[in-house]
């Protein structure tokens, strides 16, 4: 059953990695604003109308 140690160590390594990532994300203010990001993703198509004509490329 000693294989369980490999699994626990592997799982813990991942968990610790994500814990560090979590601490990083909180410390770098990733979650200070928990509303704007959800709206921001909806606005990225505006450029299409004015600029697209320059970079048309028929490529199939």
């Amino acid at each position: 059953m000693s294989v369980i140690f490999i699994l626990i160590i592997a799982s813990l390594t991942i968990a610790i990695g994500f814990l560090i990532a979590f601490i990083w994300s909180v410390k770098t203010n990733q979650y200070d604003d928990d509303y704007t990001p959800s709206v921001r993703i909806l606005f990225d198509n505006e450029l299409r109308s004015k600029q697209q004509s320059n970079s048309k490329e028929k490529n199939k």
Binding site: S2, L7, S11, P37, S55, N59
Partner: protein
């Protein structure tokens, strides 16, 4: 602020989209063929390449890694560029990723059909392909993290966290589970044996579902569902909680696949506890997805993309409620080894993965080709045919699963088993047939989609590079350019954590091999290593995918011990590289098959199963009677086993050939007595040797506990 102009790479998205559609059709078609074979076994045309045991891994690998895999990459490459306001890090890496993955798929399909398999479910691919997968995955990670570093948007949207979770965890799972010792270029043995192999395998298997079929698709859901509905996700805060709780809980739930097996009880309970806990984050995500559509349900009525997504999220909710329920020991006692599990998996695969992929394809293709979808009518038709297909697939499988399990467990008032195993098989036929119809409908829907999208592509005008602009990311206030290591050095705690991780990895690499070999010392003295002939037979068993229909694990229930014999013990599997417990009993358990029937029974049974058990749906295996055992590998096989700690005497590899001949002769003489003439060097002889060995060790001699 400086405004930067750049372009999104749509070309790579288009390629992955085409690959998704193509492999989706292939994977589903193979699935339908395999489904039909369960009630018309003759459909395999007596070819080795098309028997169920080989097709089933092709089907599972194709839909998981080819269809869903390409679907993931399509969605990730589309969304991550827009979320990070940056083009992919390197077009070259994108290309390597694309072609590398397609190469893997082709190699996988061919090698599985050829019978090159490790015999571990969902990780069947042999070691050269495993290495290739690792390399391509690293390329994907490199490309993704490169893009993240070059981003123009400081905040990492929640979808990206799901992608990161996928990338990192899948890499680890794949590597740990795929450690195997090569015998030849296309043959290897799992490093782990028996119970340990089972534990690693299902830790992997469960997390493959978690981190290949779930987390990336949740990321896609969090991007494409709000985009398609054109409204923000219901609660962004909930989505953050969803991610972090899911990532910390998911990885511990694996042992729920091994309830009532020889895995230690505490490990089983640990798996159950975490599986139950999983309801919370899973349903949090499901509710978050559905509530995003609050006030927009009128759109769902009109928009076929949203229709697909709503069904997908609902299916996700159903599957993630059912999953924890199936993890309860009392439910598992009924559901394990039956079609119920097949139904459960397909609600997830057809509903959640399939429908979300379709929704994304219908949304993404017209956008990239700057046109309208060719036909909304056809898309709606696809939606309804697909939904009907799922229902016709799942309901019969639930029904048959529960029915078969209850039949297996039924006793007469006199205390005898009420049903022969064969009775429970013949009762399944109508359900198998209905399921195949459901699958065919689902496939038909997908074909309609591909036609619809081809027409859309033809009418459209592809935009390979999409213009975008965004402000450059402000640098964090720091004193000039700083090496990353400085961050660690500055704080002792950070340094400690990082060193700890590094040391652990080092320690694992150092200790594990010795550790595993030692713990492989048998706990049952009468359990001996396989003879060379049996080892060859076992490899044939693995090659033909017998584990896809037969288990080798008798659970400690009266209904099972009465039918199959003494329940399985952990000590019986110490030389099983890989373990072959299986997960489905389309046919009966084989753990105690040895000495149950004469050699001639097996001979006739493999030649024509219905001759020995009328009504059988097992296909015949005529090629085993023509092909000779590949003795050129005998020495390498014994040596590999010795390296894995199997106690063959020193120098045994040189005597192995003689030992084989002797044992084969005995079997061929046994067959002769029953009037069957066969050469002792044929594969069937080796297979019979293995089948006659199964589960006999503890019967032969009195049990003797050597070491606890």
């Amino acid at each position: 602020m400086e405004l930067q102009k750049f372009q999104y790479d749509n070309k790579i998205v288009k390629w992955f989209a085409y690959a998704t559609m193509f492999w989706g059709l292939v994977g589903m078609l193979v699935g339908v063929i395999a489904a039909i074979q369960l009630f018309i076994p003759a459909l395999n045309m007596n070819l080795p390449y098309t028997t169920f045991g080989r097709l089933r891994p092709v089907h599972t690998n194709a839909v998981i890694f080819a269809f869903v895999g390409n679907g993931i990459f399509m969605g990730v490459y589309y969304s991550i560029q827009r979320l990070l306001k940056a083009r992919m890090f390197s077009d070259f890496l994108s290309k390597i990723h694309f072609y590398g993955w397609q190469l893997i798929i082709v190699l996988a399909a061919v090698s599985l059909l050829m019978g090159k398999t490790t015999g571990k479910e969902y990780a069947e691919l042999e070691w050269p392909i495993d290495i290739l997968i690792t390399l391509v995955w690293v390329v994907f990670g490199w490309n993704m993290f490169g893009t993240i570093i070059r981003r123009r948007e400081r905040h990492l949207y929640v979808a990206i966290w799901f992608y990161i979770g996928t990338l990192v965890t899948v890499a680890m799972l794949h590597i740990v589970n795929s450690i195997e010792i090569p015998v030849s270029f296309w043959k290897s043995y799992s490093w782990y044996a028996g119970v340990q192999d089972a534990l690693v395998q299902w830790w992997y298997g469960h997390n493959a579902v978690a981190f290949f079929l779930t987390t990336p698709y949740l990321g896609l859901m969090y991007y494409f569902l709000p985009k398609a509905a054109n409204r923000p996700v219901y609660s962004y805060r909930l989505s953050i909680i969803h991610f972090w709780s899911l990532i910390f809980i998911y990885i511990w739930a694996g042992p729920h696949h091994l309830l009532y097996t020889s895995v230690p009880d505490w490990a089983q309970s640990l798996g159950v506890v975490f599986s139950i806990m999983l309801i919370a984050p899973s349903w949090g995500g499901m509710i978050n997805g559905l509530l995003t559509l609050r006030g927009a349900w009128d759109k769902v009525r009109e928009d076929v993309v949203l229709k697909f997504m709503v069904v997908a999220v609902t299916a996700y909710g159903m599957a993630t409620f059912e999953g924890p329920m199936l993890s309860l020991k009392s439910v598992s006692a009924i559901s394990h080894y039956t079609d119920w599990i097949v139904a459960h998996v397909h609600v997830g695969a057809l509903g959640w993965n399939g429908f979300l992929t379709f929704g994304i394809l219908y949304w993404i293709v017209p956008r990239m080709f700057r046109t309208e979808l060719y036909s909304k009518k056809l898309a709606n038709m696809h939606f309804w045919i697909g939904t009907l297909g799922i229902v016709l697939y799942a309901v019969p499988m639930y029904w048959s699963g529960i029915m078969q399990s209850l039949m297996w467990k039924e006793f007469t008032p006199e205390g005898q088993l009420r049903w022969q195993f064969m009775d429970t098989v013949t009762k399944m036929i109508p359900f198998y047939a209905t399921r195949a119809i459901g699958g065919t409908l689902y496939l038909t829907g997908a074909i309609i989609m591909v036609y619809n999208l081809i027409k859309t592509v033809k009418a459209g005008n592809f935009l390979a590079n999409e213009d975008a602009e965004a402000a450059a990311l402000e640098k964090h206030a720091s004193h000039g350019k700083e090496h990353w290591h400085r961050w660690i050095e500055r704080k002792p705690v950070q340094l400690m954590i990082v060193s700890l991780v590094v040391v652990t990895i080092g320690g694992v690499i150092e200790f594990v091999p010795t550790f595993l070999v030692k713990s492989n010392i048998p706990t049952i003295a009468s359990v001996k290593p396989y003879t060379p002939l049996e080892l060859h037979g076992r490899d044939i068993y693995v090659r033909e995918g017998c584990y896809t229909c037969h288990s080798q694990m008798i659970r400690p229930f009266r209904s099972e011990t009465a039918r199959y014999g003494e329940y399985s013990k952990a000590g019986e599997f110490v030389y099983d590289h890989p373990f072959q417990w299986g997960s489905k009993r389309t046919g009966p358990d084989l753990a105690r098959l040895g000495n149950k029937y004469p050699d001639s029974w097996h001979y006739n049974h493999m030649l024509d199963p219905t001759s020995m058990s009328p009504g059988s749906i097992m296909p015949p295996y005529p090629w085993l009677f023509d092909d000779k055992v590949d003795v050129s590998l005998t020495v390498a096989k014994i040596k590999a086993m010795q390296r894995l700690g199997v106690p063959y005497p020193k120098g045994f590899e040189n005597e192995a050939a003689k030992d084989m001949e002797k044992q084969a002769k005995v079997i061929s003489e046994n067959l002769k007595k029953d009037g069957i003439e066969t050469m002792p060097d044929k594969e069937i002889v080796a297979l019979i040797a293995y089948l006659q060995r199964l589960g006999t060790d503890i019967k032969n001699e009195p049990k003797e506990i050597e070491k606890k």
